[in-house]
Amino acid sequence: MRIAVLLSAGRHPVSGAPVLPRLEAQAIRLAVGLGEAHEVVGLHAGPDAAAVAEGLGQGLARIEHLTVAAEADPVPALAARLAALAPDLILAGRRGQGGPETGLVPYGLAEALDLPLIPDVIGLAPEAADRLSLDQSLGRGARRRVILGGPVLATVHPDAPAPLAYAYGRARRGAFEPVAVAPVEVSPGLAAEAGALPAIEERPYRRRPKLVKGAPAGGSAAERLKAATGEAGASAGGRLLVQPDPDEAAREILAYLRQVGVLAAPRPTDDPR
């Protein structure tokens, strides 16, 4: 199986230094973890390949570099190269880090290559008959196992296994391969859409006050304080049972848990004994 991992030039969220985004390092781990039999190649479209050199130390043996201008859309170049490579699985992060961060590149690629896209993958396993089983995170530990036949594009969830440790020797042995990119002619339809974009004004980021859950929008200061300190929450008017019988206490607890909805209702007994 041939696997392509899309790499982006990221910025560290705290220091702003150039770094390989963690999700893409996790994607490399998922791909490399399938075994030696599979061919894994990294793919980067951007002005400078040094931005993703860390990927070599994280487990990739080969990174293909497509030279694209910094502000240009990487999707056409990537789509052309991926169509030539024809990998069985394409892995990407959910979104870039340090750029516009819209997360549209995987979706644009899936549309351009006409591939199914499975988001938020945390595990991979090849199945029989060229099928692929992907585990998708649904949050809170729940998963969805999706089985597909044929090539697929998947984005990686932060709950995927942690990235491999950086190895200096591996980074030295790995190689970059520059790939010539045919200049993509911009179709008139896309140019018209680009012209129709509303102007985007940029200014330094300002952190906004946290939205207090359940706070009344037009309430008084006292009401807002009550909402902020949790006094008006569901547990504010709690029930208190002092020294009840243990059986009665247990019944009360189970009734409360069922009312909250975390415990299933008792199975109705069909045969009264």
Partner: protein, 417 residues
């Protein structure tokens, strides 16, 4: 202040009453004649005069000179009745703002309500908010929706046999794109949740429209999102497709809206067979899910000595086991199960504290839990005060009773072959 000098002779003369054979002093000395002396104070009338007419409360400014003649207007005390909310009806909206909620299980999530609130801001007075609800979506009117569009997955039924898991994100995106083409709204808002963000991006590439994602500030004419690692804020006039970050915009708090259902004819698309062969949902195993992700946690403190029974109770409740610092320090429970500031801060919906008094550090770990049940012997423990259901009883006595009831409820399944 000067008072007129008293004239005792004149006063005495004034007290004389003329009779037939001369004069005599008046017998009733309390009756005051007009024109003389000061008025007698009536403290009750004065106090009444200090009350605000209409409302039965004293004036705030008591230094005002009261006019005794103007007594308070005594009204029957106003009965405080909740104002009957009048449903806002918008007959011909100038434009539509479409909201595509997650609505998992046909119920609006808090994030969906926030998206409706943001849509209400964008719609303003003339515009209408339409919600694209999968099936029945209760409570969308009070959440701020003027119109309701049923997006019944007719295509999903047709594909039902070849897609057993019911997971067809591309098909859903196609349906939403069709609905957008049919309704031609001015803006379309999605929640930036795992499902909503995925759907928004699929719709964006399908419609070939730019997407303004992770919006954190919404005003009538402009929206803003962070970019470049939260170093820059991008601000623009709202375009067609927008996704809204969680907990950024307040929910709609005005009077309820109509949520009138409007029919939309979406022809079932002839779609190619989806690439997804099967999709099965694997629920989280409560015994192994990390404590920070668990939705239902039962924890033991130093009031629990029989940990074997505690583990059985936790398994029977299908909860994730937790513990207080005391038990973890003693080595009775693993450190990974410690709840609190130095352990794990929970994101659970429900928390059951057995024999935990509730140290401040422990309560910090539970701060995000919506429902708390506490069993403790101490009536004055902080955990009892925090709990929604507080039981002052020995946890050691309650645990076997819980276990007995739970096995009783699960009894018929064991009998079944």
């Amino acid at each position: 202040m000067t008072r007129p000098r008293r004239d005792p002779r004149a006063e005495r003369a004034a007290l004389l009453v003329a009779t037939g054979e001369g004069t005599r002093p008046r017998l009733d000395r309390t009756v005051r004649r007009d024109g003389g002396g000061r008025l007698r104070r009536d403290p009750r009338r004065e106090r009444d005069g200090q009350r605000v007419p209409g409302v039965l409360r004293p004036r705030y400014d008591l230094s005002q000179v009261s006019r005794p003649e103007a007594g308070p207007v005594h009204e029957a005390p106003r009965t405080v009745q909740a104002p009957v909310p009048t449903v806002v009806v918008l007959d011909a909206p100038a434009f539509l703002v479409l909201v595509v909620p997650d609505a998992a299980g046909g119920r609006l999530t808090p994030h969906d309500r926030q998206v409706l609130g943001a849509a209400r801001v964008l719609a303003g007075r003339e515009g209408g908010v339409a919600i694209l609800a999968p099936g029945t979506c209760e409570g969308s009117g009070p959440a701020g929706a003027d119109r309701l569009v049923r997006l019944d997955d007719k295509g999903g039924d047709a594909l039902g046999d070849c897609d057993p898991g019911g997971y067809d994100p591309a098909g859903r995106a196609a349906l939403v794109a069709e609905a957008i083409a049919e309704l031609s709204p001015r803006h379309v808002l999605f929640p930036e949740s795992p499902d909503g963000g995925d759907l928004a991006r699929r719709v964006a590439v399908r419609l070939r429209q730019p997407l303004f994602s992770d919006v954190e500030a919404v005003a009538a004419g402009s929206i803003a999102r962070p970019a470049h690692g939260r170093r820059v804020e991008q601000r623009t006039a709202p375009g067609l497709l927008v996704t809204l970050a969680a907990d950024a915009v307040a929910e709609y708090a005005g009077p309820p809206r109509e949520a009138r259902e409007i029919p939309v004819r979406i022809e079932t698309l002839a779609r190619a067979a989806p690439a997804i062969l099967s999709a099965t949902t694997i629920p989280a195993d409560p015994a192994t899910v990390p404590l920070g992700l668990a939705s239902f946690v039962a924890a033991a403190g130093s009031g629990v000595t029989d940990l074997a029974t505690f583990r059985e109770v936790v398994a029977a409740l299908h909860a994730t086991p937790g513990a207080s610092r005391v038990l973890c320090d003693a080595g009775l429970m693993p450190r990974s199960s410690q709840v609190g500031a130095s352990g794990t801060v929970l994101a659970a919906t429900c928390y059951v504290a057995l024999g935990i008094s509730g140290a401040p550090q422990h309560l910090q770990g539970v701060a995000g839990c919506e429902h708390v049940v506490a069993v403790n012997t101490d009536l004055h423990a902080a955990m009892i005060e925090r709990a929604g259901l507080a039981i002052v009883q020995d946890a050691q006595a309650v645990m076997p009773a819980l276990l007995r009831l739970l096995t009783q409820d699960a009894g018929p399944t064991r009998d079944a072959p």
